[in-house]
Symmetry: C4
């Protein structure tokens, strides 16, 4: 039989690998967003001034900012979650993979909303954008629920009250993004703005502060 300390070390190494791979995926997805910022071609611009041409691209820059902030908050939350998780079993890896699938997908709806926000097709674009975050938030809750059900994958010293507080907090995510989806039927820019504000608010406040663990 393995002594407890060796076992714990092995388990933590196990989540360490999931963490390193997930970190890589988050870091790449957040950096690939810049590829959506297109420089106007000199040929298309001709003699027109560059400044106004860039200003007209404001939906692209806002979409960049919104998606950057959202992925950053997701990364912080992902780490906070893995802090409490000691073991990674097969189902956990599968659910975490589902989460990463949606994280790597984010540049696509970002590009979509940047191109179509102000066009007649803006509603569809905003729906896909908010819908992606609904899927992300649900995947997030699935990973967390699986890990915490009966304290399945948690480390022994985890504070159960704290886990319940986090669970309550995480459950607001899907609800808020479903609200953004509904909002898109009324106004595409309003729905997108709501997503942007959510990400910036989370980046500023609660989502990050908890990292401090005290």
């Amino acid at each position: 039989m393995t002594p407890p300390s060796a076992l714990e070390e092995e388990e933590s190494r196990s989540t360490g690998r999931v963490e390193a791979f997930s970190d890589g995926v988050f870091a790449i997805a957040i950096t690939l967003l810049v590829l959506d910022l297109k420089v106007p071609t000199p040929a298309a611009l001709g003699d027109a001034p560059l400044g106004p041409a860039l200003v007209r691209q404001w939906p692209t820059f806002l979409a960049y900012l919104a998606s950057f902030a959202t992925i950053l908050v997701m990364w912080v939350n992902h780490h906070r979650m893995l802090d409490h998780v000691r073991r990674a079993d097969g189902a956990f890896l599968f659910l975490n993979g589902l989460l990463l699938l949606f994280v790597t997908f984010v540049p696509f709806p970002t590009s979509l909303v940047a191109d179509y926000l102000l066009l007649p097709q803006g509603r569809t674009a905003a729906l896909v954008y908010a819908g992606t975050y609904v899927a992300l938030a649900i995947a997030y809750n699935l990973v967390w629920s699986y890990a915490t059900a009966d304290g399945r994958l948690l480390s022994r010293e985890t504070d159960r009250e704290r886990v319940r507080a986090l669970s309550r907090q995480y459950r607001t995510g899907p609800a808020l993004y479903v609200a953004a989806v509904v909002l898109a039927f009324w106004s595409a820019p309003a729905s997108f703005l709501f997503c942007l504000l959510l990400a910036v608010y989370w980046a500023f406040s609660g989502a990050l502060v908890v990292f401090r663990r005290d």
Copy 2:
């Protein structure tokens, strides 16, 4: 002479570096897949609705899903394999490099099958797609066979029965993908669907569960 414990630490550091580099390549390859998801240009779309235009791109989304799931399963298997490998010698690095060559190649056949699946040239696209996975599965088996032959690079505590079980399991990979190649001659969509189902099935079941090690 070096004491055994120092030697073991050095050897494990050695595979640790291979693992970190391979993880980076897997994480980047899996995230680059999103670059294949092309947003229809507003100019080309005109007044047409966006939703149906996106739905018509379903082969692109399915190819994204299939390749994401396959690379994820490959990553999990790669880690499981390196868990049992203690030393990395020159031939091992070369074979692992061959495996990574095919991993970084995956976005190309993914793009090919996404563009041509429903066109008259679909058979060739499906052949290249399934053929890439045949090559990947063979490279995978080469790395594993080299590492395990005479227990060459295995750690001492490795369970030989477990190694044989893994070897048997890995050998089914090339056979299944050769079946996908054969299937492509009859129907491109069927071949592609078979590859997709394989990846999703593996992601759900056996391939991942073993990570748990118990």
Copy 3:
């Protein structure tokens, strides 16, 4: 109560994760710069020689060099900074995220200045380029000021005199890049050249030497 040593280990693990994620973002942003180097298409080149066509792209190559050197120096400084930081709280993560936002943005102004440096719109391009570095340098100072105010997040053994010396050094960054912005109103190439020289000078001298810590 946790014993001090365990607490310190936990805190250092905490910044270790910020470091790993930031490293990933820096490494990807610096490598994505190459995507701006466009090969002239054979169709557009026709029978013309390739050498002169490449030489005519010199602004692109210079912009690549300037941005590479700047991100490299930023990475070195980021690491030097995190060497002194023991804890990462919510506000630190938010400010560090702001810094990373501008780091991932760098490929865009790089592409802009490469395309427009010698055209009538060069001034705007040089303004955006230098302006991005103003924002980066300010974000850098915000992170450092927050971490060092009242020694908030510093490790106990940090030399206070050294911190003050670094603070003075970092404060020159925004001032120098504001000078580059001003310079752009007079001459776009002069402003860009100034940014390039700053990065190369820093890469050669002070910025890097301090890494040695002695």
Copy 4:
């Protein structure tokens, strides 16, 4: 005064960070190569078969293979080098940054040679391709010479005879690639083929075997 063991740990952490950042850059550069493999557009292909269209792209695939193998060998060598280096001072970081500059540049000449190898401008493309590797090999030797001069940055237990053997081996790199440059004046395909064979030979043999350290 710091006790020796603490000092050594700090120094090794110092090169550990350089190693992690460099690994990231190598992993991303090697994976970005796939972006050069272009799928023929269905519009351009029309009713023509896909197979022959892919086969006509063989220079692209060969260039992909050659650059992949070269970066892989460079990564292995970089790690082997850092195994012997204990400290990273400012000049070392600058020279290592120069090496990484050329590593991230590799996708550009790769794309160039893939597009122009068989065209009248092939000589220029082959010159740039081989010239990049001359620069890489020289940067490599600069890093190594700086680290080993007077045993400056080496760890104490480094075998001096081994260092001299490695230095001799590394010096052949620039010479061989200068030969490839000369060859390009006579025949572009011959020069490119020579670079490809060098990389594959190194990947197979000496360059990798030494990793084993025995």
